[in-house]
Amino acid sequence: MYDFQYHRPKSVADAVAALKKAADGKLIAGGQTLLPTLKMRLAQPTDLVDLSGVPELRGIKVEGNAVVIGAMAKHAEVSASAEVQKAIPALAMLASEIGDAQVRNMGTLGGSIANSDPAADYPAAIVGLNATIKTNERTIAADDFFKGIFTTALKEGEVIISVSFPVPEKAAYMKFDNPASRFAMVGVFVAKLAGGVRVAVTGAGPSVFRVKAMEEALAKDFSGKAVENIKVPTTGLNSDIHGSAEYRAHLVTVMAKRAADAAK
């Protein structure tokens, strides 16, 4: 790890100020991706701005028909939250299956989605539930947030405050683990919302994507049977030593089917 200046601000405003002052500053949330990257000397930021001391980024609460989760909420907090378990059990379940116990007790919602790892779980829930991301500058709709592999709509100096997840009528997340990393090789989030059905896929492509054909089919008949024969094109899907694009495409169908059947 290279040397860097460490900051632990107490407010978002101070965090943004520290970031703006730095030559090449980086926010650190749970650090579950950034710290290994630093340890392997693959990044050399001049400053790290640690968000763990900012109270306004914490907390989980129900607001109307939505669950609002602070950006610094840890995966373990989300999975253990009675509010989340009651309102969106699929989201609690998703959080309970991220990484391992150590990761879940350090890693955060905001950190995960800002990093936009193609195999992360949360992006599927964000897009699948049509969540809204609130930053210090604006709100961003789920469909506008993820821009590609490790790329989001966040601008320089923009800090995620919280994420608002609409409570669905029913939803489920089905994940097929990469056998080595246990990241999602394919993860499918299926939700029936007031505004319609959403099917969001993580792991299979460079970034989370929706499967419109499945959404339409499920809108007519919300059952596994409705999607079991819908294939997603292999074009643009990830392919590596763990699975070909064909295998991933196939798994999208299988996981979508299982999610639709499991949704509650």
Binding site: A180, F183, Y247
Partner: protein, 794 residues
């Protein structure tokens, strides 16, 4: 006492310190004025080093020294060695290209050592290493062993034309050809034995210190055999006299073979510690372990089995290409030859066997012994082809084995591939395993799975291994550079407690408990009065270390011999004390007595008398109670058994779930059944890992290790494994005093074939003929798709 002796499930003495973080590992060392080493490694699979500029690194903050291959060459640091000379078909020794600890002008695999930076801190060493400028001129690389012998393949060593290390054979080719000519059926199989990366929990580490006053070097290292390390460094590589080099292998967190070998890093640390006249420490980071530990397996094999109309095996021929990697590791040459070809008779009476092995150099990390070492590869070939034959001939797979087993009254049994088995009861183990696995109920379970849309399969693996390495004369005649006996010293203190010094080394095996149980039983001393000491060349008699499931069979036998000497001496002292003739003295449960009387003296009293010889037969017996023994085994031991795996496959995803795993092993007598069970569980875990999950993959073009971290290398986790059903067949080894055979490698040897046979059994109904290890869900699914496409086309 009887609760702690041989045969009891005694809780491990060492676990208290391991589980509470009180072990002492190499990386825990903090020497005064200690420096830290960092190794700059090659990012290329194959390149010429045109120039190395270390000037900026030399003057970087905290840097003590920077060394390159030019420095070690100038200092005449010797090549790392391969200690086993394998002679090829024509009687020529294997090609042994030099293996410099620091690359001189060429790097030959990603991770090859290029420079050593020594600095006050680890971070400073790394910072300085970034300032080293290496001008590489990339060369074409060859990765795949099956392509290494191709015309036009990239060449690694001028000393090994065509990348061939040796072309070796064993067995009677003419007899094999004659048998094939009259066979009723021939089964053919092509197999890949996947490359594995060992991943001991503790990465390799070393620390070296030079005492300028005495000229004494001390090396702490994560070794399975500190005396062998000392011998190799002294006699072959560094030229430090043995008595001036002390090697200590303190607590070591797992080895699995990868810590047998003498690597560049500890060699360089030892050498440099005198150069800089300060202690130096290095601990591998996990990503360094991936690229620099010796890997395991990596064979490509074609095999054919000839049978008569009843499935009686007539002959077996095996043709294997074995990957040596870029350089020969310490025992690399022996693994695919004498630890592989010699095991191809398995448990069967196959009268004619021929095996041809061509070992090749590739631009990959060196390959050497890894848990099982050669024997898993042999078992995999044999047990896969036997089950393939059963399928083709429509003979029940258990029955086909039964028809070919060596009979229980046929021992000693001379196989056509050099080994003479000493004992066994293969049919007995099979019967027990089939019962435990409810083999007869399988078809019903298969039907139940089918009703749920799942594919179920069952697979057997009837393995044998040659362990307890080894009779020195035998291995010497086969090219080994060392003897394979073991040493022991049993030293009583005046107050009656015992220090047992063993040349074996425990790095997870539980010797401190097992050996103490042994001594407790032999000498009637309570377990907590016995301390087992190992791993330090300054205190332990020369020993050969731990590998090849040898510690109890060979090291334990040496301890028994030393205990016998204690008893023999004690009898003389007791006779004096009891005023009787030594011939009339009996020893039992820690007490010497005159036979047939109640006159007795406890061992503690005899020991005290030996150290305080006021009333003592000094004209007949020396004072003290401290005996040495060396034990050279008469034969290998031959653990054998049957493992059965039952698997259920979800054809929608290709996911295999092990429904049941049964192991019946014959290890001879068991000293601590709990520790044996742990060894079996661990071995099966690694075997299942090889079959379903683990795969060291290099990119065939760039030679980069694609599985260089746990993000891509799939280590088995607890939830990948079922609960194991473990049983025993006990046929005591007839030629060692404990009747033990060794249990450390069995699981890793037996399991891969059992799992893969189960997978093939499950997939046969959907038309899948062949699938390689690891049978990942992705590969299983692809295989099903290909079979579907093929069936549709037909």
């Amino acid at each position: 006492m009887s609760e702690q002796g041989i045969g009891k499930r005694v809780v491990r003495k060492e676990d208290q310190r391991f589980l509470t973080g009180k072990g002492h590992y190499t990386d825990d060392l903090q020497r005064i004025r200690q420096t830290h080493a960092y190794f700059l490694r090659s990012p290329h699979a194959h390149a010429k080093i045109a120039r190395i500029d270390t000037k900026a690194a030399q003057s970087a903050p905290g840097v003590v020294a920077v060394f390159t291959g030019a420095d070690t060459a100038a200092a005449k640091v010797g090549s790392l060695i391969c200690g086993w000379v394998v002679k090829d078909k024509h009687g020529e020794p294997h090609k042994a290209p030099p293996h410099p600890a620091l690359a001189v002008d060429t790097v030959r695999h990603v991770g090859d050592t290029v420079a050593m930076v020594i600095a006050e801190t680890e971070a400073q060493a790394k910072d300085a290493a970034e300032k080293i400028v290496v001008d590489y001129q990339e060369l074409p690389a060859v990765i795949n062993p099956a392509k290494a012998l191709d015309k036009g393949a990239a060449q690694l060593h001028a000393e090994a034309p065509g990348n061939l290390c040796y072309d070796w054979e064993l067995g009677d080719r003419a007899a094999v050809d004659a048998a094939f000519a009259k066979a009723a059926h021939v089964t053919k199989i092509d197999l890949v034995n996947n490359r594995l990366i060992p991943n001991a929990m503790e990465p390799r580490a070393a620390a070296a210190e030079y005492d300028a006053g005495s000229g004494q070097y001390t090396l702490w290292t994560t070794s399975q055999n500190p005396h062998v390390t000392r011998l190799v460094l002294s006699a072959f590589v560094l030229g430090i006299p043995e008595h001036k080099l002390r090697v200590i292998a303190p607590d070591v967190g797992g080895g699995f073979g990868s810590k047998i070998f003498i690597y560049a890093e500890e060699t360089l640390l030892t050498w440099a510690s005198a150069k800089v006249n300060r202690p130096i420490k290095w601990t591998a980071e996990r990503n360094e372990s991936f690229v620099s530990d010796a890997h395991g397996r990596d064979h490509v094999t074609h095999a054919e089995l000839a049978m008569d109309k009843d499935g009686k095996f007539l002959a077996l021929k095996v043709d294997t290409i074995a990957n040596m990697g870029a350089y020969l590791s310490t025992f690399a040459t022996a693994v695919p030859t004498y630890l592989y070809g010699t095991l191809l008779a398995g448990q069967y009476t196959t009268p004619a066997i021929h095996v041809n092995v061509r070992s090749v150099f590739t631009n990959t990390a060196p390959v050497d012994a890894y848990r099982g070492a050669g024997r898993p590869e042999a078992t995999f070939v044999l047990e896969r082809i036997v089950e393939q034959a059963a399928r083709e001939m429509k003979i029940d797979k258990a029955e086909l084995r039964r028809r070919n087993f060596i009979a229980t009254d046929a021992y000693p049994y001379q196989t056509p591939v050099a080994l003479a088995y000493d004992s066994g009861n293969y049919a007995g183990a099979l019967k027990k395993a089939l019962e435990m696995a409810d083999y007869d109920g399988f078809e019903k379970r298969r039907a139940d799975s089918k009703a749920k849309g799942k594919l179920r399969g069952i697979g057997l693996s009837a393995y044998i291994e040659a362990c307890g390495l080894a009779p020195s004369a035998v291995v010497g005649s086969l090219g080994a550079g060392v003897g394979q006996w073991e040493s022991a010293q049993v030293r009583f203190n005046p107050t009656g407690n015992v220090q047992v010094y063993t040349g074996s080394h425990s790095h997870g095996q539980g010797h401190e408990t097992t050996f103490a149980q042994l001594v407790s039983t032999q000498l009637g001393v309570p377990l907590d009065q016995v301390e087992v000491i190992h791993g330090d060349t300054a205190s332990v008699p020369f020993g050969m270390g731990t590998y090849g499931s040898r510690s109890l069979a060979v090291g334990g036998s040496a301890i028994v011999k030393a205990c016998d000497k204690i008893i023999a001496k004690g009898k003389k002292i007791a006779a004096h004390m009891l005023e009787a003739s030594a011939a009339d003295i009996e020893f039992k449960n820690g007490v010497f007595s005159i036979a047939g009387t109640d006159k007795q003296v406890p061992l503690g009293g005899v020991v005290f008398s030996a150290y305080v010889p006021h009333n003592y037969p000094l004209n007949e017996v020396e004072p003290g109670m401290d005996e040495n023994a060396f034990y050279d085994p008469a034969n290998f031991t031959y653990p054998a058994g049957v493992h059965i795996c039952e698997i259920e496959i979800d054809p929608d995803t290709g996911v295999s779930t092990i429904a049941k795993f049964t192991a019946v092993d014959d290890f001879g007598n068991l000293v601590n059944p709990m520790i044996v069970e742990g060894q079996v569980h661990g071995g099966i875990g690694q075997g299942i890992g090889q079959a379903l999950l683990e795969h060291g993959v290099y990119d065939e073009k760039s030679g980069q290790l694609l599985t260089g971290s746990y993000m891509d290398y799939t280590m088995p986790r607890a939830d990948d494994l079922p609960s194991f059903d473990v049983g025993y067949q006990v046929t005591p080894c007839p030629h060692n005093p404990l009747g033990v055979k060794g249990c450390g490698e069995a699981g890793a040897i037996a399991a891969p074939a059992a799992v893969m046979n189960a997978i093939h059994d499950a997939l046969a109904p959907v038309g899948v003929k062949s699938i390689d290890m690891p049978a990942t869900s992705s590969r299983v699914w692809q295989a099903i798709q290909r079979a579907n496409t093929k069936m549709a086309a037909e």
